[in-house]
Amino acid sequence: MENVCKQALIPRTPTPYVLQLKASAADNTISLISFIVFLIAWELICRLGIVGPYQLVPPSQLVSTFIIKLTEANPDGGTLFEHTETSLLLALTGFGAAVVIGVPLGLLMGWYKPLDLMVTPVFDAIRPIPPIAWIPLAIIWLGIGLPAKAFIIWLAAFVPCVINSYTGIKLTNPVLTRVAEIYGASRWETFYKIGVPSAIPMVFTGLKLSLNASWTTLVAAELLAASQGLGYLIQMGRRLSRPDIIIVGMLTIGLTGALMSWGLNLIEARFASSKRVRL
């Protein structure tokens, strides 16, 4: 905007928020209608008996099951809150531990060649193996319980953190590094003041992938070996032939995952909005 000649700029009052809302409301009406139609169709399919009660339940029943499960521990042994809490705790712990170790490791590996040479072969050997494939080994090592699950989740979250931090810092503009060198900055100072800040966008990409991976892996781990948590909930739902519990569980899983991602996006907007390197 600085290039535009000033006389051509006429200040205006920004479009009132109400009008902006009105404009986007028109957009969203179609989506709303489509969603309502979808729900109605779903309801009808179930009510008319096209699909049996052991396969699918109508949305109305889902709502009632949801409300019941908020406070009722039967038939699976925990309320919805308890399950969600368990899952969240586990996932966020694994995620947090992975970030705390993985991001610095990735950044340092990308900056200091000796570290890179040492760690990369091991990393590249571990990487192609999906975290889920570690579950049997983890169970033999750590038994069926929290430690095994935590390990798998940590592993799943660890890899994207390292890779994205590594790539991020490798993409540091070499011109900037050279400028710092000319001004006499040490290797560590350049790392800390130029490399790391410029890698932040990619670090956040890694964080998002990592969060997604930890949540997904958590569900897998809980499906296989758990006594509480959302993964356990949907598994129980299948054992009890209660599709309503399964679907409520699935939607809760989806919603919680989405909320966490949204939270991460907020954090990113707060701390990483400026892509410029601050010297």
Binding site: M1, N3, V4, C5, K6, Q7, A8, L9, I10, P11, R12, P14
Partner: protein, 254 residues
């Protein structure tokens, strides 16, 4: 008895503004321009004064808020093959070879393969890219890419050619040779051209008429018919005189 000049494309009282959060930006204010058939008109002006917007209005890519663009007397409502555009950023299709890029317009029209390849070949030769028919844009230099852009627009046989600072991204040497080439192609294959630039020398070298635009907001300041016979010499005294006149003019308007 003088023949009335045939007006090929004209802008009548074009105004255009853009809205941001805090400002209304008047990009074009009551711009009127008439271009005769087979005339080479150059629109000259500093950066950010609406030249590209004007050209886009003429192409039909954007619609003016006020006024209208008329082509052969009929109002322009959208882009079309009768108005070819050469873009500053080349806008080549990266997944198509040079030959496919140049013959694109004909392909859209439904011309069959042998005919359109033959026509495309003619223009590829004209811009001096023989041998590069099977190359992809990413394998070409900037100058070569713009030559493909030229050939592509020209090969489609538009009545009017709109060129938006096509040589702006090129280095000086390439620029000179491209200007020469454009002129020679135009001499061989005459059509109406509206050429936008911010370079005074380029304007005088190419144009039958130079239209000077100025900022705040974009409007036409003055027009200079150039009577020097083509091809022109950058060092010719008449050229330099013209250059002095126009430079003074544009300087005052900045």
């Amino acid at each position: 008895m003088a023949q009335r000049p045939n007006i090929k494309i004209e802008c009548r009282n074009i105004s255009k503004m853009f809205l941001t959060e805090q400002y209304t930006i008047n990009v074009l204010d009551d711009v009127s321009l008439q271009v005769e058939e087979n005339e080479f008109v150059v629109v000259l002006g500093p950066g950010q004064c609406g030249k590209t917007t004007l050209l886009n209005c003429m192409a039909g890519i954007i619609m003016p808020d006020e006024g209208k663009v008329l082509m052969d007397g009929k109002e322009v409502t959208g882009p079309g093959p009768d108005r070819g555009v050469v873009f500053q950023q080349y806008a080549l299709f990266p997944w198509k070879t040079v030959m496919d890029n140049v013959s694109f317009g004909l392909y859209i029209k439904g011309v069959d393969k042998s005919k359109r390849n033959a026509t495309a070949q003619k223009y590829i030769d004209l811009v001096g890219l023989q041998g590069f028919e099977k190359s992809y844009p990413h394998q070409l230099s900037g100058g070569m890419k713009q030559r493909v852009g030229l050939a592509r627009a020209w090969a489609n046989g538009p009545d009017v050619l709109l060129m938006d600072e096509p040589f702006g991204a090129l280095d000086a040497q390439t620029r000179y040779s491209m200007e020469k080439e454009t002129l020679s192609i135009w001499e061989k294959d005459k059509r109406t051209v509206v050429f936008v630039t911010n370079n005074v020398e380029e304007a005088i070298y190419l144009g039958d008429r130079v239209v000077v635009m100025s900022c705040m907001p974009g409007h036409i300041k003055s027009q200079y018919p150039i009577d020097i016979p083509k091809p022109r010499e950058y060092t010719d005294p008449r050229f330099l005189e013209m250059r002095r006149k126009i430079s003074n003019d544009t300087e005052l308007s900045l």
